[in-house]
């Protein structure tokens, strides 16, 4: 058996559990401890680097197992996770995305950074979600999303 390439940490809360998944979700991934939780499960995905097809299968199986007995909240979805959510409609089936990371680049100095976006707080309440203005922490210049906002936020429309 190959060694796990991911890490799963679960802490019980009054409402259910909070979990942190990091690394690569692949053939070594076992989310059954998470699937056993009832109530509200907040899953932090900010340190997920890659999800391959086998990791995706495990993930979808977890979401299906949670359906009806748990409310799944996705927190801090990393850029690779957002890419997956935009490509595979059912990769967030039944779950709610609370926050995610988005790639920004400064138009003046070229500094690139991944910025945490809170869906409720940062994207506005209009029909077309908009990213908040983001000054560059290095030079104060204007940062812009390196992808098109409509495309990057596609997964929110499917939620």
């Amino acid at each position: 058996m190959s060694a796990p390439s991911y890490d799963l940490k679960i802490e019980k809360t009054a409402e259910g559990a909070e979990a942190w998944i990091s690394g690569m979700l692949d053939e070594s991934t076992d989310l059954s401890p998470l699937a056993a939780v009832k109530g509200k499960i907040v899953v932090d995905l900010s340190k997920v680097l890659l999800v391959n097809s086998l990791g995706l299968r495990t993930w979808i199986q977890f979401l299906r197992a949670a359906r009806g007995k748990a409310q799944v909240i996705l927190r801090g979805c990393s850029e690779p996770v957002v890419g997956l959510l935009n490509m595979v409609t059912n990769a967030a089936e039944g779950a709610t995305v609370e926050s995610f990371y988005a790639p920004f680049e400064c138009e003046s100095c070229g500094d690139e950074r991944s910025v945490l976006i809170d869906v409720q707080r940062d994207l506005g309440q209009g029909d077309q979600p908009e990213f908040p203005p983001l000054p560059c922490p290095k030079c104060g210049g204007k940062c812009k999303l390196t992808d098109s906002p409509e495309r990057y936020l596609l997964f929110l429309g499917d939620g």
């Binding site: 058996m1 097809s53 979808i60 890419g83 490509m87 790639p103 495309r151």
Partner: protein, 325 residues
């Protein structure tokens, strides 16, 4: 054309857009063959008597009933088919395209002129039968890095190194992540799906992907990658050559939907190709039955390609056309 021309059979372009026809004619002048062009099926049929060797047509005409009859006639006259998709990407149309056994090459871009490289390379590969090698898609002289898989679990280490190298080349996190993902899926296929016994039966496709075993001789798979600033290309080659065109088409047709249902059990999830299609700009299958399969994945670095946009796809079979030079 270097090395002289063996035949002077023409190339036929059948496209309903005059702009596309003009652009394709200009691009195809690079291969030094007579070019015939027609707006519709009737015009194309009239040209079949001239014995075209290659056929380029729009996806709309390809998918029409008249287009299918025309393709049958073209195939009987010895023409290889090549599809150009001119309009905005449409996954439903893609899925339909893959259900036709006549399909082999889909080159896609909203702007025909941006297909220049793909059109010329596809035409030359079909005409010459020289199908292998990712370097055909890159600028001349670009060095490629090669890694050989000698153990099944080495995949993870190679993927991590590739990811780091992509970042060090300044390709950005998005491309690095997509390249890592694609190489992982393609290597997994090469390790678990390529190996067959003497009867052609898969020996590992149902094996748990967590199994660790040595890979030697024919079982070794090779990852190669290179970048010329325009494209990042990576390829995975196995030495079994067990992948069949029909398997690819079935898999492509299944993979063009966005709602994915994983296969249960310890083997593959059946989602790998769908994910790969979502990340690459161009996917090329080079098949030599019983000898080797090479899958080339290209990422266009020249402009911002939407994640999940349907890519171009080629399926080349070496035994179907000539000998390699």
């Amino acid at each position: 054309m270097i090395g002289g021309r063996v035949e002077e059979r023409p190339v036929l372009v059948v496209h309903d857009s005059v702009k596309a026809r003009k652009t394709l004619t200009r691009i195809l002048s690079a291969i030094e063959r007579p070019i015939l062009s027609a707006e519709g099926i009737d015009g194309g049929t009239a040209h079949l008597a001239k014995g075209p060797e290659l056929l380029f047509m729009s996806h709309g005409l390809f998918l029409s009933e008249a287009g299918q009859k025309f393709l049958e006639a073209a195939e009987k006259s010895g023409a290889e088919s090549c599809v150009i998709l001119g309009g905005p990407p449409n996954r439903d149309e893609m899925s339909r395209l893959f259900q036709y056994t006549a399909f082999s090459n889909l080159l896609m871009d909203e702007e025909p002129v941006l297909l220049a490289d793909g059109v010329v390379i596809t035409a030359l590969k079909l005409l010459r039968g020289d199908i292998f090698g990712l370097e055909k898609y890159l600028s001349w002289g670009v060095d490629k890095t090669r890694r050989t898989l000698k153990r099944s679990d080495q995949r993870r280490e190679i993927v991590s190194q590739l990811h780091e190298q992509m970042l060090s080349l300044g390709l950005g996190r998005r491309i690095a992540s997509m390249a890592a993902h694609v190489s992982d899926e393609l290597m997994s296929n090469a390790v678990f799906h390529a190996a067959v016994d003497e009867g052609g039966k898969s020996v590992r496709s149902d094996a748990p992907r967590t199994d660790v075993f040595e890979l030697s001789g024919r079982d070794e798979a090779e990852l190669a990658y290179a970048c010329d600033g325009r494209f990042l290309a990576l390829s995975v080659t196995d030495r079994y050559g067990s992948l069949r065109r029909k398997t690819i088409l079935d898999s492509l047709a299944r993979s063009t939907g966005s709602n994915m249902n994983p296969r249960p059990g310890p083997g593959g999830a059946g989602l790998g190709l769908a994910l790969v299609l979502g990340y690459v700009t161009h996917l090329v299958f080079n098949l030599e039955e019983g000898k080797r399969t090479e899958v080339v994945a290209l990422f266009d670095l020249r402009r911002d390609i939407p994640a999940g946009a349907p890519p171009s796809v080629n399926i080349f079979e070496r035994h179907r056309k000539g000998t390699e030079q």
